[in-house]
Symmetry: C2
Subunit: 260 residues, 2 copies
């Protein structure tokens, strides 16, 4: 089942998709809900971020090639993390599939995408074991962890480099049936593929991150875990469109526009 | 005016305090609201966190003595930040005045308080100037940025050291009339004062942080800015009660309990 948040004349709906028709519901997909009896063609709505997470978790470094390439580009020795230490991002930065990423005027040239699988939590849990961790996942979506590398290096925190408004495209939907096995993550810039990697080739699995994080933090329905990316990105310029595909899940596409 | 969130029989209310009586409202304090006609004695309610912020901003290092003492305790040279780079925390960790801070079983001995003034945003703003920054502040409250120093040193991110459940007491209320001039921040551990500092002796002012952050992030009503702390903390142990007073604003008190 594919779940979306969307708007019609600025009114927000939650609904599921069936044969290009959105069926609006009352309630939350992971909770009790009922049909509203309202239907919309997907072509006639504005797609919104599929969820606004209470807490926005991000694995950060979680694919070996990304860790190596980032370190080399900085002239540093790669350090493979020894534990699944979760990071986090800020909700202000989220935008939807189809929205524009706005590059601030004073940003440098090193604007990079990071194509990420996102797990969406569907149950309140604490201290969940790795074995049971998948039982609290409602479904999956796609995230683009847009980063400004000069700020990431110069600033004391990741706020500006990672959480500037519009730097966190997520969507288009939450798929409850996605199977990570054999899935590939691909990125196209202006229609030309720049990278492809096995989605599941993570250093620490989704179950490991969820279990470890839940030893310290209660997870709530709607929380998201962004699972990290592989490889590196070319510099994304004004007018470029970045499309992230995770096979079997969907495509997240956003145009980048530099503020003038 | 003092604004609280509170609960009666697990039903949550927002209200203002007048002569120890809470007057419940419908709406948000920073928006249109009306009296519900319901009153409660403050002694008869459970106080909740005064706001659940969409984004939880934290200045981190913002008082010189804290920066020096932290560096010395780590055997490092103090580095005074050159810019007001905002950090951020996670909402799962928030608890209210009077709630217990739960120290996880596997935490080390270096459990520290950080007594902080908190500015609560009341308006949606972007690109606000320093001169105008105070116009978007609705009021002020108190925060305790509880930290586990071994994890802060060992982990790749601040998640566990700063955002473990219960590590972010905030409250008891939002005061719309607080005046930072001449205010003192004091901490008592089990009734004995451990530190006192001038609340306004910040490296970067609240206006500087808000203005700079808003150059990159849209600020929303309910967002909070935790403004950093001065000095250092003794190790807080099982059974200790930490009370933070900001004169003219109020007292935030929480007992610390180690998980057994």
């Amino acid at each position: 089942m594919k779940w979306l948040r969307y708007s019609v004349n600025e009114q927000i709906f939650t609904g599921y998709l069936k044969n290009n028709i959105l069926h609006a519901i009352d309630g939350a997909p992971w909770d009790r809900w009922q049909e509203l009896g309202l239907k919309h063609r997907i072509d006639n709505v504005k797609i919104e971020t599929p969820v606004i997470p209470p807490t926005f978790y991000a694995a950060g470094l979680n694919y070996v090639k990304h860790i190596n390439e980032v370190a080399h580009s900085r002239g540093e020795t790669p350090v493979i993390p020894g534990a699944a230490d979760i990071g986090y991002r800020a909700v202000n930065a989220l935008i939807a599939h189809g929205d524009e990423v706005i590059i601030p005027k004073d940003a440098g040239e090193k604007i990079h995408y990071e194509a990420e699988l996102v797990a969406v939590i569907g149950k309140k849990v604490k201290n969940i074991s790795e074995k049971d961790a998948h039982s609290c996942i409602f479904g999956y979506t796609i995230g683009n962890d847009v980063s400004e590398r000069d700020w990431q290096k110069s600033d004391r925190t990741f706020f500006r480099s990672k959480n500037t408004d519009t730097f966190k495209p997520m969507g288009p939907w939450i798929d409850t049936e996605f199977n990570i096995k054999e899935a590939l993550t691909r990125v196209n810039v202006n229609g030309i593929q720049t990278i492809e990697f096995e989605t599941q080739a993570m250093l620490f699995s989704i179950a490991t991150f969820i279990s470890r994080t839940s030893q310290y933090a209660t997870l709530y329905p709607g929380d998201v875990f962004w699972m990290g990316t592989d490889g590196t990105s070319p510099n994304i310029k004004d007018g470029d469109t970045v499309e992230i595909e995770i096979t079997g899940l969907g495509k997240l596409s956003n145009k980048f526009v530099r503020e003038s």
